[in-house]
Symmetry: C2
């Protein structure tokens, strides 16, 4: 195929250059923000000391985690080398390209996570100090900028790495379609692989530390959250960074990359018979729309401003609305430039459908996790019956929250599919059936275009969470703590919103990746149909459900077991260090030991569930064949999306029910305190649901799908 | 089709007569057992009084529930009459047949539940008395006989009603295939409809009462389980009857009927082109194999005998093994009589595969819920961290327990499919593809053939549970209570075993019903394929997951809300009735008010989730069409089976972790008591999972499938 050489002609080069320039600019802008943040003053000596503890703990964890991931990666590489030998298409030089891409993907994914986390460990203490020195609105801007570093790095690096990879292979190696497809899929595979372990390890760490610190601190010793006497308090704050930033950065990098890859593969196959400019435009659409969306996010961040008395969420949401508006305008330009007549407007409508669906799902998730509405209130009411009724109510809210988001997704899916189908009827370049698939890809691109801004909001949360922790540990004045609390409570809102968005993203990306898998398989074996009457497909569907459920089991169990280790250590310290509980001056807890125990336990526990996810599609594919894999993919998507919504929203609602009870509790009324304590237990159940198992399922889906895509051709050859 | 008139010729009549005789005999034997049980002595006056309370409460609940179900049934009937008007096939007389069948199904389902429950309310006190007078082994026999009434009634009535329906329509009305198919499906629809409400209402009742009584009694007032001072104690025992017997009896009736219907519909369509004896033999196989299986269960019960010192489970399991062996022998005869040569042996192998799969799944479920193995121990260990870590461990066990049973099911599915495929290659009567589907049907029949015995074991549990409660409330001697505890603890084992079996049953029945749906739809619209690339099908899959998750949400929430009502009432009574807590002689709790509140609350809460399940397939079918319905069916089967395993096994493991902690607790050690109390909370979370939401999902699946099958033709005509 000469497709990729065409990219280098004068007609198309500007689009490639646009992508490269915007992605480089956004990485540069992110680095500028890092420098700007580092220059801000850090506050009192005590604050610096605490921030240092957190930074060192986070780095120490990350280095060890990287080491573990590299070892597992090496094992996989060797296993792949043996496995890939089956495929007679590829020669040794091509092998190297594929493995190189796998390594690049792994490296980028880990690097983004590292930058996001490291920036946050500088930003957190500076946010606290800004609140202390200047007030809420300028502190909010610092926290948002810290989060934006993650957003810009994720999108910029994803675009840059894939564009460069395609260019380098086309120019210096060869333009064989299989090699390029194989290489970019390998990049996505590497990214997903690293992200799964980063997210899982980080997720286990953060929740084990959180549960350990809370259980012994709040409930047994009766001291407040983030109290410096608690030996687990630094581990808890480290956890926010390694879980919510390092893990999440890697996660978002891989899901964005996965979606980009799916769109490219689909565009190449769908438009292979289309006339000259369109077959290349189709390939360029994902690059251009994500680049312009990134530009929209950078422009949108200028709208994030407000007064100290404004609600933080109202300040932040301005940036979101601005980005959405600018992005929509860019989409008009893209569609009118790259497609023809009515089809252009129909594809534009599909993109808008994607954006609207994402916003709606975010809002529904907010409804289910906001203390002002029925779901969280129902949990808080159930707390009068104790921990069990609280938990039942929380699980019930989680199960219920699956409903409306799925209805929205289904509507967007059917809608963009039919818009694309109609576009295909009007436009001779593609058939209606292919137009339909491309329509759903454009819908997903619409959703992805605003991701720069959403990721920035996502990065904001853990920074202000840490900022509040530092204010508490450094024993700053009450009014500082009150303002950091306001910032933090908005962090829960952004978290709920962006989690809803993330699931919608993964759902659409997963369906695209499945369609790419289907296209690749039927390209190799024309006439193969994936029908429900095929028992191999049915079996695959069941196995898909199995993977998601068993993975969830391991994720939850890991948190429970790691928490046990930390609980024992904290209890030991309270017991053995004289005067610690009473808060005597010279009684210092051994923070580092808690950090160490959490690190080792998390790393140990991430291996089995991670391996399960990697090995299952390979066993099914090599053992049973491509049809069973198709079932496995859809089975895991359906159960995975439903279960992720359940875990995330149920856990979030339990968390906010605790926050609500904390507000309305009456410390002198035993019944009120009984209910409050019940919600603490409920929150502890929700913690591993929403911060370990739930988010990891996102990566599980993309990882299974990229593995299937990577090996699709081999599965077909073998069966 | 003259298929049904052929049934009445001399060649086939013996098989029909065999079915009628065995089913009538088993109903007669069940009634004989009832009379035999009623003749046994009831024990002391106090015991009789308590048993009367329970019986009256159970009957009062059931009458009100029947009234509610009849009202909803009438509304559905009217709605159906309007909906069915679309279908131009059917005339008014045919309408009446279909509605008549719907009503017969509803009535049979409720009747079986009633008989099962009523017998149990006589058997429970007599079991207690037998323990007191004679010892464990003869008491066990009484309890087993009580359970056997349910088993025999369910299978006998299911066979009898369908056989008679087919005969009556063939002889007196007409032998139109659509009418007979429509009528037997309507019978299944009616049975599933009634069962869903019976199981849901009963499930909400039993767990709300259990949680209410436990929370206020054990935890707040600090009095033991089943203590007569607890105002909720009668409601709790009533709950065991209305949930575990009335609900379960109806449930099992509908799932057996659903499977019988699926096999009949499949046999008719698959063998329509087969030569003369075989097309009728195929139709007869389900009747004959279930009849002979029923006979095997009646013969098997003679093996249930042992000494007072034997483990109860070891006594009961002899009956299970005997039934399995006899059933296997019967299957050899059936296969050799009805099929030819190698095909006969291959179908026999498929049947054996089904039986083995059922036994294995039962054993795996036992592993996950038995205190001697790792899962329950891990929950018990986690209890040291409090209620939250206990619950997390329990949820984790639940998620994990999905794995192996699904692998076993998938193996049985693929295995029986390929055995059938090979049979089709050897045998000219059918094509390999049709043979494959028939193979999986035979595999399911193998599994179903032992159901008479399994249902008897299932009915044993709540009877001995009640017997223990009566011993406690009547304040009998410690050694009596110890023996009833042994019987009860074996009840938990039988419950775990039969629940695993029930899910395997439902999974296979559901897949058969789906295949029947597919056959009916493609018979009407040849060439229609259900492929994964169809967005309507994908949307249907997502909606299937939605139904199951949202249903679970409502089921859990209903228990929580009803429990709140009961908790308030029990607290009020402890507060307002002087001397109640202290156990003064003249301070009598108002049991009836608790029973009343639980009844009203359960009935109120069962309406929304029940309606959701009935309405969704109709909306999807009428609104989007038969392809989306196919997705809906498979989506709900996949997520439903996984979720039911999670809920049942997770809940069961949490329950047994509490029992384990109770055994090893040290009442003078606060840490040990803290852990024990944590497992009580964990058990309370598990209660609605395993006894309300989990079992109801079984019925949800069959109900959605029978509705889809009932309206399949109309969905096709409309789209």
């Amino acid at each position: 195929m000469s497709l990729f050489t065409d990219l280098l002609t004068l007609q198309y080069l500007p689009f490639i250059l646009l992508t490269l320039i915007i992605s480089l600019f956004s990485i540069g802008f992110a680095l500028y923000l890092v420098v700007k943040i580092k220059k801000l003053p850090e506050g009192t000596k005590r604050m610096q000391e605490i921030a240092n503890y957190i930074r060192e703990g986070s780095r120490a964890y990350l280095y060890r985690q990287f080491k573990t991931i590299i070892i597992i990666g090496a094992i996989i590489t060797v296993a792949l080398a043996i496995g890939l030998d089956y495929n007679l298409y590829w020669r040794f030089g091509q092998f190297s390209m594929i493995f190189g891409s796998f390594i690049i993907g792994t490296a980028c994914s880990l690097f983004v996570g590292y930058i996001a986390m490291d920036t946050a460990t500088y930003a957190n203490v500076r946010v606290t100090n800004k609140v202390k020195e200047e007030g809420l609105s300028s502190a909010l801007k610092v926290a948002f900028n810290g989060g934006m570093v993650m957003g810009l790095m994720v999108v910029g690096l994803s675009l840059l790495s894939i564009t460069l990879l395609i260019l380098v292979i086309s120019v210096f190696v060869e333009t064989d379609y299989f090699l390029i497809e194989g290489s970019i899929v390998a990049l996505g595979f590497g990214a997903s692989f690293a992200a799964l372990f980063a997210l899982l390890g980080g997720g286990i760490y953060t929740k084990a530390a959180d549960i350990g610190a809370d259980l012994v601190g709040k409930i047994e010793a009766g001291i407040p959250e983030d109290d410096p006497r608690n030996p687990g308090v630094i581990a808890d704050n480290v956890g926010d960074n390694v879980g919510d930033l390092a893990g999440r950065g890697a996660d978002l990098f891989e899901s964005l990359t996965g979606q980009l890859i799916a769109t490219i593969v689909l565009a190449i196959i769908i438009f292979q018979l289309a006339p000259a400019p369109y077959k290349i435009y189709a390939l360029l659409v994902p690059f251009v729309s994500l680049s312009l969306g990134l530009l929209a996010s950078i422009l949108g961040q200028f709208f994030v401003r407000g007064k100290d008395t404004d609600e933080p969420w109202n300040i932040l949401v301005k940036g979101m609305y601005a980005t959405t508006g600018i992005s929509a305008i860019f989409f008009v330009i893209i569609c009118l430039t790259m497609f023809e007549g009515v089809a252009a407007w129909l594809f534009f409508a599909a993109a808008i459908l994607g954006i609207v669906a994402a916003l709606l799902i975010g809002i529904v998730t907010l409804y289910y996790t906001d203390e002002r509405y029925r779901p969280v209130k129902s949990i808080s009411n159930a707390a009068e019956g104790g921990p069990a009724t609280t938990t039942i109510a929380g699980l019930s809210v989680g199960f219920e929250s699956v409903g409306i988001p799925i209805l929205i997704m289904v509507s967007a899916l059917i809608g963009s599919y039919f818009l694309g189908y109609t576009a295909g009827e009007f436009w001779s370049a593609i058939t209606p059936e292919d137009g339909a698939i491309f329509g759903s890809a454009i819908g997903a691109l619409g959703l992805f275009s605003v991701c720069g801004m959403v990721l920035s909001l996502d990065g904001y949360g853990p920074i202000v969470d840490n900022a509040g922790g530092i204010a508490e540990m450094a024993q700053l004045e009450d009014n500082v703590r009150k303002e950091t609390d306001r910032l933090d409570s908005c962090g829960n809102t952004t978290k709920a919103f962006t989690k809803g968005y993330a699931i919608a993203t993964v759902a659409l990306a997963a369906i695209l990746l499945f369609e790419a898998y289907e296209q690749v398989v039927t390209y190799e074996k024309p006439g193969l149909l994936f029908t429900l009457s095929d028992p191999l497909l049915l079996s695959g569907l069941f196995i898909g459900a199995l993977v998601v459920f068993v993975f969830t089991a391991f994720a939850l169990r890991s948190v429970g077991e790691s928490a046990q280790d930390i609980i024992k250590e904290i209890r030991r310290q309270f017991h053995e260090i004289p005067g610690l509980k009473e808060g005597k001056k010279d009684a210092r807890p051994d923070y580092a030991r808690c950090v160490d125990i959490a690190t080792l336990s998390a790393l140990k526990h991430m291996i089995i569930p991670g391996t399960l996810v990697i090995v299952t599609p390979l066993i099914v594919g090599f053992g049973i064949g491509p049809t069973a894999v198709a079932g496995l993919l859809i089975g895991s998507i359906i159960t995975g999306i439903a279960l992720a919504l359940f875990l995330n929203t149920g856990g979030g609602a339990l968390d906010n029910a605790k926050k609500l009870r904390k507000k309305i509790r009456n410390t002198s009324d035993p019944e009120s305190m009984y209910a409050y304590n019940a919600t603490i237990q409920g929150d502890l159940v929700g913690d591993p649901m929403k911060d370990t198992a739930g988010p990891s399922i996102n990566v599980v889906l993309t990882l299974i799908l990229t593995i299937a895509l990577q090996f699709a051709v081999i599965f077909v050859i073998l069966h």
